[in-house]
Amino acid sequence: MTMIRAKINNLPVEVEPGTSILKAAKLLNINIPVLCKHPDLKASAACGICVVRIANYNNKMLRACTTAVEEDMEIITHDPELTKLRRTILELILSFHPNDCLNCGRNGSCELQDLAASFSIRETRFDPNVEKKERDGSTEAIVMDAAKCIKCGRCIEVCQEIQDVWALTFLDRSYQVRMRPAGDLSLAESPCIKCGQCKIHCPTGAIYEYDDTKEVYKALLDEEKYCVVQIAPAVRVSIGEAFGLEPGKNLTKKVYAALRRLGFKGVFDTNFGADVTVMEEASEFAEILTNHPERLPLITTCCPSWVDFMEKRYHDLIPNFSSCKSPMQITGVLSKTYYPDTISVKPSKIFSVAVMPCTSKKTEVKRTEEMFASGKQDVDVVITTEELARMIRQAGIDFINLPDEEPDYVLGAYSGAGTIFGATGGVMEAALRSAYHFITKEHLTKVEFNDVRGIKGIKTAETTINGKTIRVAVAHGLGNVSRVLDEVRSAKEKGEETPYHFIEVMACPGGCIGGGGQPGKISNQIRMARIDALYEDDKEQRSLRTSYNNPYIKILYDKFLGKPLSKKSKELLHTKYIARPQYVK
């Protein structure tokens, strides 16, 4: 490839054709300010903050985020004139933005706030034009505060292009442009699947998670309640970011400690539930593969956003869905049925909280009547990683320096297979490790399935079990999922053999580590750091890499459930799906 040579601030740079000025500048350690550009997304060119000057092209000002470096360009990224220009644009944006940082869901982690700080904005120079707009919290997963929207288009790009949901779009034009669902419906009436990807990509506080911490505090203060809590795999490797640590630090044992200090009496790990999910799902797969090949491919269902998407858009595939509940729901139902027996507390006193990387999980708890299998709501409240981080701060806990603690093992011990659930490909790998055993009765010598790891949007692999070739696919980011499922659908329509036997789906790019409830920023770099930390956690479980070997799982089945897919398992651990319309109206 012939490289492009140019100069940025008089420093020579050599880049591949098509490289943006923004990226090229990064190579030289020059930071050009951006507001609308996100590393995951196609540049929308909306804000104008990133303009740079091309000295040998009439001093024309062009956007660094969308303009590719051309041969011999002489680019100036910073000078007093550019600073003034950027500052004025920022002041214009702020003139349509409320001065509301103190009441804002993004206070302290807002890209707009950061920019305003670095450009020394000290007054509102232009006439303020802030309309009071009603917030939309109809989903009870995320809240939209349109008054804070700067129309960067990131949420829309994610929702349409990455997630293929099209819940959001821009309506109208000029200063009346607004990001909304079609027909100005509420989010709950739209096809929104509550994945919260819009939220983690939003640079401002225009979209934030629905806050449930008050519920948790109320329960913790209630003498009558016995509060238990579980943490999802993805939480442990991201919560550090909320306390200023690098992405990818595994803080499992500090989270346990912090939860106890917050007042939880039972501290569990969703990884345990993930091991149960594996037991059930791998058995289901083994059963279908041997006895009901017409039901192939089997598709995973532990992601509620994905379930929502499927019920709205791919309900013809309901028969292919694993009936197995998500690890969170399993941990929840066990904490209200199995757990109380072990500690002699009345099940009705248990209040079950889940800490999730996910906004969608907030709605999963009421999804269908099966979520009330214990007789009451199995998981009472879901809070996100971000909400937990705030609670820890409010409680004055010096989180980073806490001593390590262990979970309550009954529902807390986990295998390496359980922990990798948080990463794309993890559910597949975990299930294959057990399915191999269930079908062949043998143990894998090498448990890693490297082909399903990594950040690629669609991963496919083949493996041999009992001489039979098993084709699997892993997709994350629903745009990719649609592509895989369309393949399956068209094979079905043509009466051809299914292209895959087993498919793992996660709504969020990267899987749950990239979930909508995670703190801080998101990019593939951050995703990879979190994923690596989970696989590291898997390795650290040395002897315990497969779910069926988890001694506490064995106890659970011996004492309580019987065997996978038993009547009791089916009652407590499995669920159903129904077709739903995309638009309520």
Partner: protein, 561 residues
């Protein structure tokens, strides 16, 4: 209908020419023979031109004059303000503001008795006049683009062919290489009439060289500039001239499909284009193997839907693709990656209407008209406070003064002229002291205005400059697509400040703010709309600062003892 081929067109043309021979050479009209033309463009059409035409035909028929009096409909004559208009040859007179009930009188007195009806002629300063050569509006004009407007029936391909229509396409298909076409355009020095004045040969060359499975040619007929009607007049009055040019462009860049993008509001133009396209297909001037050659070309109309910004080329492309008309970052330019990602040439209606004459008469001929940097003519829609407003075409280099006073007949009501505005919402105000500036792209830019598409609004002493700036900014506020912050918010903020001035409540630091916002918009907006929309404010601030200053509320001076 039989399809024409390169071999048969010349004979066909001669047949058609014979039909309208006498209209083209009025001195051959003898023995009471007359050619009568009724304008049926939007202006006149909206005030009963159709009834006038029908009535004329009926009355002429009832008097048994059918074989002497030949009646046709035509496109805009140019002074629609005085419509509906009927033109009569051989006398070459125009009857203005004709009412259906006037027809009897015209037929009786003029067609039968041979006396021109003075009372229905145009009122000029020196009295009633009706002869073309006496009408000020026609003075100093030179008609290339409007060559057929008011001369032929726009709904007849045969009349277009009769006046040498499609000869340029024939010439090209008869052995001109694309390189020769481009060389001719380069020699001619034709620049885009859609606003920016980009050299056409360059654009066509880029698209020709670009690689793509398909290529497209688009005619930009969006004409969003409020108060301008040049392009619609061409489309209504001479649609084939644009179709012919598009075929030539397609041949040159290697495209086989073209789109007419037309404002949905232009109902008549749309209908006329469709009629023209259908006729061209029927004669083999469009479709597979044009005129029997290897070249095939399909053409289709796509409508706008009420968005000024869709005149901007990347927004126009988005609109044809069925999306919101929001501009896209350039580069890549459409000539490299345009409609559906393919190399695409987008040209303005007026630009295209120049192509056939250039091919026919050569690049040197065209280059001999106009100024050093700006060749050929420019069509303007002259409106506002002039005595005669209308559609005019003048050589580049004509001065503003000549247009306003010689052609427009000066200011109505004896008022004093103050300024003209060119370039619509993207352009600027030019005060009277610069009226001797010859019009070309560069001079207008240096005055802080621009050529734009050709709106020219004349303002007199009564017009407030702050008000006119506010008018244009309000337009830009409404029409901003809202995608990029500098334009979406900048326009709105400027409007708010100007509204304060309107109420005489300007603040002392408002002027500085206006300059800052304008700068941010010029440099930071994504597309031409935001980059140029502060121009009306900047230019009025520059030339008429006193009109702003007098509206600033001075701080009250507090007397202390």
């Amino acid at each position: 209908m039989e399809k024409l081929t390169l071999k048969t067109t010349q004979r066909y043309r001669e047949q058609q020419r014979a039909v309208i021979e006498k209209r083209l050479k009025p001195d051959q009209l003898t023995g009471g023979q007359m050619e009568v033309m009724v304008c049926r463009s939007t202006g006149c059409e909206s005030i009963e031109a159709k009834r006038i035409l029908e009535r004329l035909k009926k009355v002429v028929n009832s008097k048994g004059l059918d074989d002497k009096i030949h009646i046709t409909q035509t496109g805009c004559f140019g002074f629609c303000e005085k419509g509906p208009i009927v033109k009569v040859l051989p006398e070459n007179v125009y009857y203005v503001m004709v009412k259906p009930d006037d027809i009897e009188e015209i037929v009786e007195k003029h067609f039968v008795e041979g006396n021109i009806v003075d009372s229905m002629l145009m009122e000029e300063q020196q009295g009633k006049t009706g002869r073309r050569e006496e009408i000020s509006l026609f003075k100093k004009q030179m008609r290339i683009v409007l060559r057929n407007n008011g001369r032929i029936d726009p709904e007849s391909v045969n009349e277009y062919i009769a006046v040498d229509g499609y000869t340029a396409l024939e010439k090209v298909l008869n052995g001109m290489t694309p390189e020769e076409v481009i060389a001719t355009l380069k020699l001619a020095g034709l620049r885009g009439r859609g606003g920016a004045g980009f050299p056409i040969w360059q654009k066509w060359t880029n698209a020709r060289k670009a690689i793509g499975e398909n290529k497209f040619i688009i005619c930009n007929g969006d004409e969003g500039d409020p108060g301008a009607f040049m392009d619609s007049s061409v489309l209504e009055g001479d649609p084939h001239s644009v179709i012919e040019a598009m075929a030539i462009a397609a041949y040159t860049i290697g495209a086989s499909k073209g789109y007419f993008y037309v404002r949905a509001e232009y109902g008549l133009a749309i209908r006329r284009i469709q009629v023209a396209i259908d006729q061209a297909y029927a004669l083999g001037l469009l479709g597979k193997n044009v005129l029997g050659s290897d070249f095939s070309f399909d053409l289709e109309i796509r409508l706008g839907a009420g968005a000024f910004v869709c005149g901007e080329e990347t927004a126009l492309i988005a609109s044809i693709e069925g999306e919101r008309g929001t501009p896209r970052p350039r580069p890549p330019y459409p000539s490299i990656s345009g409609l559906f990602g393919m190399p695409t040439v987008i040209n303005n209606v007026e630009t295209l209407a120049n192509i056939a004459p250039i091919i026919n008469n050569g690049g040197e001929w065209f280059a001999s008209i106009g100024t050093e940097t700006s060749k050929g003519t420019k069509v303007f829609a002259l409106t506002g406070k002039v005595n005669v407003s209308g559609l005019i075409e003048v050589p580049m280099g004509t001065t503003i003064r000549e247009i306003v006073f010689d052609i427009g007949g000066g200011i109505a009501g004896g008022k004093k002229v103050k300024a003209v505005q060119t370039g619509g919402p993207s352009g600027g105000i030019i005060p009277e002291k610069y009226f001797d500036t010859p019009i070309d792209y560069e001079s207008l830019n240096s005055l802080g205005s621009m050529m734009g598409s050709g709106g020219m609004i004349v303002m007199d002493e009564d017009d407030s400059m702050v008000d006119i700036a506010k008018f244009y900014i309000q337009f830009s506020v409404d029409e901003s697509c809202g995608k990029c912050a500098p334009c979406r918010i900048g326009n709105y903020q400027i409007l708010q400040i100007l509204e304060r001035f309107g109420k005489k409540r300007g603040k002392e630091d408002d002027l500085e703010k206006l300059h800052d916002i304008a700068f941010a918009m010029k440099k930071g907006s994504l597309c031409g709309l935001g980059q140029t929309s502060p121009n009306p404010v900047i230019s009025t601030l520059k030339y008429f600062p006193e009109e702003y200053n007098e509206k600033i509320r001075k701080p009250k001076i507090v007397q202390t003892k």
